[in-house]
């Protein structure tokens, strides 16, 4: 038997198929304008990837902001609980999860069973989220995936605005005054790092720290976070799937 976890985020939709022991299929697609359609499409994709039939599926769990739009799921669970379970499945020694996605960032503290002891989310503004970096990358005329590489080794410029709109004009003024793209890129990542540090400190940093969500692909930010938090911050190729994995694990009832 199998369970399927579908995590429809603001930018990307992720799904995994779980056989009770391991992830047997996974896929990620852009959420686009319709979380309902992308969720359904993704469900069909992973089902055929794993070559399974409907009767072999014991449970489908939806998570992420788009979970309410999904009609094919058996249960919906918040991404916070799913990230906790997902992290515990990947590595039971994880005690802190930093999740930075498209529209929010979270710090989650776990016990030794993957239960949530405490969590904090950013408030309604975009500071410290993937959206912030996306807007800034646009201002720098680069792709968000290049931020890390460009900022590598540069002396970070100071970005003082927390507000995405003001920070964008700050970036534009910095460019006008001759600051390097490299320095600005590093500065932007420092700014997200500092915002995240405050969030994580409030729930309390406990080893081992795992970094999930789309923004965790940014290796320079991971490096900044490790330095700032004083402990190594881990991520993996499954980082972006953490919510979907947690949903599938909960659905399987492990």
């Amino acid at each position: 038997m199998y369970s399927i976890g579908v995590d429809v985020g603001s930018v990307a939709a992720k799904a995994v198929v779980f056989d009770g022991e391991k992830i047997v299929a996974r896929e990620i697609i852009p959420t686009g304008w319709s979380p309902k359609e992308s969720g359904e499409k993704l469900f069909e994709i992973v089902k055929s990837m794993a070559e399974i039939e409907k009767h072999q599926i014991k449970s489908i769990v939806g998570t992420g902001y788009g979970r309410v739009a999904l009609s094919f799921i058996d249960r919906k669970i918040t991404e916070i609980t799913c990230h906790g379970k997902g992290a515990h499945f990947l590595d039971p020694s994880i005690r802190t999860v930093i999740d930075i996605g498209g529209q929010d960032s979270k710090a989650i503290k776990l016990d030794d069973k993957g239960n949530i002891i405490d969590f904090l989310m950013n408030d309604k503004c975009a500071a410290g989220t993937g959206r912030f970096l996306q807007v800034m990358a646009h201002a720098l005329e680069i792709d968000i995936s290049q931020l890390s590489q460009i900022g590598e080794g540069a002396t970070p410029e100071t970005i003082s605005s927390m507000c995405t709109v003001f920070a964008e004009s700050e970036v534009i003024s910095l460019m006008a005054s001759g600051a390097s793209k490299e320095g600005i890129a590093a500065g932007l990542l420092q700014s997200v790092c500092s915002k995240t540090y405050t969030l994580v400190s409030k729930v309390g940093i406990q080893d081992k720290v795992f970094f999930s969500g789309g923004v965790s692909k940014n290796s320079l930010l991971k490096e900044f976070l490790s330095k700032k938090l004083g402990v190594e911050v881990f991520s993996s190729e499954l980082s972006q799937y953490l919510g979907a994995i947690g949903a599938a694990v909960i659905g399987y009832g492990v």
């Binding site: 902001y65 918040t78 991404e79 916070i80 609980t81 239960n115 989310m121 408030d123």
Partner: protein, 381 residues
């Protein structure tokens, strides 16, 4: 199904807006108040009507922000907005206003509001823990009494004060009994209805009629409990809501909690149980008795405010709660800072899950709050 009497309770605001108009036109004086520190008894002893004017809706905030900073607590902005737009019948019919020096935001807003209507400001001590504070608060009671005597041309005798104290104690006892019904597991009344019933008492032009209605509601609920009719089933997580005051229009966190399957069984805030906990001593000299009661209010504007932790602990045990939610209005510094203390107390002493929600009256963060609340409840189950 909702208790039948709740329909009558819910109609109170409308009914009372007509009653206050009629009373005012017959020459009855109205004292508008903004706080649980306001000694309503003194207004009643002046043969006046006391009404609560605290703003609980988003609508007048836009107007208020023309004169007040945006980054200010929504309760202050809403209250001021109602005053300058004159859209609240209760403000309109108020002859005088009573204000207190509670938090900085309110204190400075009152300076502006006092230009609109005659206002008396009571100088509230910042601590309840010393004799000087009590002595000074006693004097403030006398000053307010003298203010009303002069404004309304009446004499407020000790006899009248004592009668008012008895009446208000009766109201408190009724509201307290209603609140305590929800200590039963499962609770007979939703937190939403409890909030409405508690909040609407502030509009009661006729206190006796208000008490009678609450007693009818208690009776109906007791009958329903005998038949095994409750608001939520036994499995619903029981939540204590603490923090800033809420009313109709600013109930979003309470609503989200209950829509997500929790039952808010205890409202520790000042629109809920906080003001009901302690009665006024009916034997003592009335001014002393009033000063003692009101000064004992465990509000975050006091330093220290350990009384709030004691009250939370008592309610958490009596109501067998599964978690505590602390609501903070944006820019309410005192409750926001105190939340850290409440969090540590809840987690370390009470061993209960804790969630702080900082928000305003707008609907812009409903989705975000819902995720937090659902995740919090998933952790309890």
């Amino acid at each position: 199904m909702r208790p039948e009497i709740m329909t009558e309770v819910e109609a109170l605001r409308g009914v009372n807006s007509v009653k206050i108009k009629e009373a005012s036109e017959k020459g009855k004086k109205v004292v508008g108040m903004y706080c649980v520190f306001s000694p309503q008894e003194i207004a009643l002893a002046a043969d006046a009507i006391s009404v609560t004017l605290c703003g609980t809706t988003q609508a007048p905030i836009e107007e208020a922000e023309k004169e007040l900073p945006r980054n200010l607590c929504p309760l202050i902005k809403s209250s001021y907005g109602f005053a300058i737009t004159d859209k609240c019948p209760y403000f309109y019919f108020s002859d005088v206003l009573l204000a207190e020096t509670t938090c900085d935001g309110k204190k400075k807003m009152y300076e502006l509001m006092s230009k609109i209507k005659p206002m008396h400001i009571m100088n509230l001590p910042q601590t309840a823990n010393d004799e000087d504070s009590l002595e000074s608060w006693k004097k403030e009671m006398v000053y307010f009494k003298e203010f009303l005597e002069k404004q309304f041309g009446v004499e407020i005798t000790d006899k009248k004060l004592k009668d008012a104290i008895k009446l208000m104690n009766r109201e408190r006892r009724a509201m307290k009994r209603l609140h305590q019904l929800n200590a039963h597991k499962p609770a007979p009344l939703t937190g939403m209805d409890m909030m409405l019933a508690q909040w609407l008492k502030g509009f009661n032009v006729d206190k006796e009629a208000g008490i009678e209605l609450i007693e009818k509601l208690i009776k109906e609920l007791e009958e329903r409990m005998e038949k095994g009719i409750y608001a939520f089933d036994e499995k619903a997580p029981r939540i204590l809501l603490t923090g800033c005051p809420i009313g109709s229009g600013s109930e979003k966190v309470l609503r989200i909690l209950e829509e997500s399957g929790a039952n808010v069984v205890a409202l520790e805030n000042c629109t809920g149980y906080k003001g009901l906990d302690v009665l006024v001593d009916e034997e003592k000299d009335p001014i002393t008795a009033l000063a003692e009661k009101y000064l004992s209010t465990p509000c975050s504007c006091m330093t220290n405010n350990n009384g709030r932790l004691d009250l939370i602990e008592r309610l958490a045990k009596e109501y067998e709660v599964d978690g505590i939610v602390d609501l903070t209005w944006q820019a309410c510094h005192t409750y926001n800072i105190e939340s850290f203390t409440v969090k540590n107390f809840t987690k370390n002493v009470l061993n209960l899950p804790f969630l702080q929600v900082e928000t305003d009256y707008s609907d812009s963060d409903l989705g975000q709050i819902k995720v937090r609340v659902e995740a919090f409840l998933e952790g309890i189950k």
